[in-house]
Symmetry: C2
């Protein structure tokens, strides 16, 4: 199994964390989203993935793009530990939280959208406001759904989406996580989880030494 990905990308971290949870070995293939205008746009990469995006999983004759599709694929192929609850209602709640983050928050901080802003300050303000407003909704959902983690007491796909988004919120967009008590409680408890540590952006081979 090979994963084209980038140390800093939050969508990539979701997938790396999933592979770490399932204890699946994979070949780490770094695609630098910034070098020379973006390696994801180079002809060599477009031949592999015409969408020119990461993360991108290649598994024998199967290839999968889009982080949620990759998470579901890995969860269906490697059953343990399961990353979705057993009952239909709780599974829906997990996927709702994933959808809120992957469709409702993350795309609004896409480089294409940030490129519309005229200054670095405006970029930061837009991203901060999008994430903070999304987190207000998320906090309300988690107040009902959470146990130890996002939905109940087991780690699910919802947590795989939450941790990278919360890290970005603090690290890149100066969101005050103290305003969101459930989000910050879950985030802080998962920061110490070995799979999230192993898959953390700062622990990846393509993380530049000057960042550390």
């Amino acid at each position: 199994m090979s994963l084209y990905n980038f140390w800093r990308s939050s969508c990539s971290w979701r997938v790396r964390a999933c592979l770490a949870m399932k204890n699946v070995d994979y070949k780490y293939l770094p695609i630098d989203l910034f070098k020379d205008g973006g390696e994801q746009k180079k002809p060599e990469y477009l031949e592999i993935n015409p969408m020119g995006q990461i993360p991108f999983l290649v598994d024998g004759d199967a290839d999968v793009a889009q982080s949620m599709a990759i998470l579901e694929y890995i969860d269906e192929k490697y059953k343990n530990p399961p990353l979705l609850p057993k009952d239909v209602k709780s599974r829906a709640k997990v996927r709702e939280i994933c959808g809120l983050i992957t469709s409702g928050i993350q795309p609004l901080q896409h480089r294409k959208v940030l490129g519309l802003m005229t200054s670095e300050d405006a970029k930061l303000k837009w991203a901060h406001d999008c994430v903070a407003s999304g987190f207000e909704s998320l906090e309300k959902i988690l107040q009902k759904s959470s146990g130890k983690y996002c939905v109940g007491d087991n780690i699910t796909m919802a947590d795989l989406c939450l941790v990278p988004q919360a890290y970005n919120a603090v690290d890149r967009f100066s969101v005050d996580l103290n305003k969101f008590s459930v989000i910050s409680r879950i985030y802080l408890s998962l920061e110490e989880n070995p799979s999230f540590k192993k898959s953390h952006p700062l622990n990846q081979p393509d993380c530049p030494i000057q960042v550390l």
Copy 2:
């Protein structure tokens, strides 16, 4: 089962089409996204769904937001006809296409993003370009994955996402669908499908008479 939704919303159409395919009766609860600044922001609705979004499904003591989570929920609860293939590899391809549309294309035409544009022309151009660029990727995926429909010869969740997006592309953003031969072939064949007709925006009770 009750569905809070809006005739014109493409995310709502995905869910209505799914319910029509499965032949599930439901209570249609219209939320007008434009009237008085948006009924989804009124306190009455925020008490029901604090996220202030549609579509929103209420099924007994279960409630589900986010269209992909709703599709998976309905598909798990009502098995026939299945809207995901049986094999893991094809299921991943269906979800990849759904992800490309629901996270990669649709959020970029969100009203919040369009609100950044300074004129109606700029809004239209942005939305047109986002959809057209997304469709270029989608077309390449479908060239490999499609049979009669997006993935193989059975209707899947991918088609539930494709049809509303293709309709919007033509109807609202003047995208030339002739440039995308597989997308337009699938779209044209599904336009005549009874479930897509029944769930079509123009056939909903809240569609204003002056639009017809």
